[in-house]
Amino acid sequence: MIGQVASGKRALEIDNISKRYGDVVALDKLSLDVASGEVFGFVGRNGAGKTTAMRIVLGVLDGDEGEVRFAGTPLTLEVRRRIGYMPEERGLYPKMPLGEQLAYLAELHGMSPVAAGAAAQTWLERFGLGERAKDDVQRLSMGNQQRVQLAAALVFDPIMLVLDEPFSSLDPVAVDVMSAVLRERADAGLPVIFSSHELELVERICDRIAIVNRGKVVAHGTVAELRTGAAERRLVDVPNAAAGWGEDIPGTTFVSRDGHGLLFEIDPGTDDQALLHAALATGPVREFHRVQPSLGDIFRTVLQEDAPPTVQQEDAS
């Protein structure tokens, strides 16, 4: 019996895994670790290597080198079978009843037939599908199929969750259900790792984040940790400023203009008073405040810093 890892301890360790597809490098010595009880977000552009990394964790793919460990020991088939997995490409048997299908998957993951049947019913009821256990999957709406897909990753009482783009094409209600379930499972002591393009969502629900680019982790930590080192930003709303104002204020860099005003980056080591004085010189100042860089901003900055000398298109995902 494989037990859980004590909360806060390192549960999953991905240690220097590499994978090549011919000449394409999908993973280049990628390393990260996820603690139990932690929701871990995995972000990166398409083709950055997120799916490949997850597939290697699950043993669906073999890495060329490196090692994946759980609770300090290399992953065995026995441990892998206790990982709840939701692949990016969703899939269920369309012509098989929900209850039977979930019970089948639970049995494949090692549950006894009786426990599998009970667990299937429990999760269907949890997602409001208890009445439809005998319906074929293909008769469900898209939203309900996604609920069953999540149930398929949870039904066998996994010791870890690995979810590839679990939020993609979910409606807002389903997004809330998914977020709540991920947090609940993490609170129950599971390490939860998922990839997503929805950076706002990742920022909101993840304890820690890794940004992956070209097969490597280029930044990781809590959102707060990722922010440290990022440039200070100020938003200035100066309605009377002339067009082109602000582009040459010493100690600042003009970033962008949006409906609220103008966004500046304060150069390291300078203060923001020069910017405020310049703003006051144009007339009334409606707004002047500090802006926390969003995960999206951090993401773009990190990717820019990691930009390759030449443009390179990666096909592997």
Partner: protein, 393 residues
Amino acid sequence: MSDDTGGRPIIFLVAWREIRIRLRSRVFTGGTVAMVVLIAVGIGAATLLLGKTTSVRVGFDSATQALEQTFTASANALGAEITVSDIADDGAGRAQVTAGTLDVLVTGSPTAPVAVVKATVPTLVETALNSAVVDARLIAAGLQPGAVASAVGGAHLQVDALQPASTGRTPTQISALVVGIALYIALGLYGTFVAQGVVEEKATRIIEILLATVPPSRLLAGKIIGIGLVGLLQLSIIATVALVGVTLTHVVSIPTFTLVAILGYLMWFMLGFLLYATAYAAVAATVSRQEEVQGAIAPIQIFLILSYVLVIATLSNPSGPLATVASLLPPFAPTLMAVRMAGSDVPPWQVGLAVGLILVSIGGLIQLAGRMYSNSILRLGAPVRLLDAIRGK
């Protein structure tokens, strides 16, 4: 074992799912019912057409009763089923023929009898009657029919045909052909089910969830075993109906449909299925959509179609060199050897050799197919080239 799930191996779970799902499908229930009905109708029609179950009722009136004994002996020698009765007189006999309670009334005199019938005299009855009349005339002429027969016996022409005309198919050949067609259809059908099942898991993307917990070789093995058992069950049901029907009606009194023979055909189905289904699964894993299945399995289907062509070509000469050699070759053995066993006596060493060769081929093919399946099953999109599937690049 590391792959046990609550004491039950993964292969069992995968196979059991296939069995449950397929037994519930309309393809299975509808197909089985349709085949059973078809067989029942076929046996019924054959019984009616051959019409050999009712005997011909022949009546002799007082004037022709002298013919009765020789007629009966002659008819029995010819194999005609007859019931002979004595009729009071010509008028009463004609009335019975008209009423349909008598088929043939023999009236007139022993040397010049008249057969009164509704429409025609059955051939065998006519031959037997003629023979009886010849005997009566010989006796009337003072000759011993037995002596005359031995004197003229052997006076017939011996024919040495260089190109014998086709005599049409014997019931044994037709039965053997039925066995061949049934196996050909079953192998094609259930092999295709395996191919579609493999692609279904790829097309619906459930394959990735499965492979996270089931090694590909076990997933493939469970699928083939499960679908194979369903095929075996369906064929067994159909064969049982055929066996019972044939036994009850005696429509074919040849050793094509005995229990032992049928078990032999089912064995050939299992062997052929393992061979073809494994090959089908390997090539099906290279494509991602159901529309591409036919194209993928076509190169293997050619062998199955060829085996059917060989069945037809060798039907009238099941022990000839072509039939003998081809029935030993693994791709053709499942249909051809079964047909030879149904239509003739095959030396046991040939059956043994064919079984041995196909078992070796299945063993090798499972290795190759497992490799191709593992290398292709996660590669969605454009079909995987066969060489890439084998090499894993």
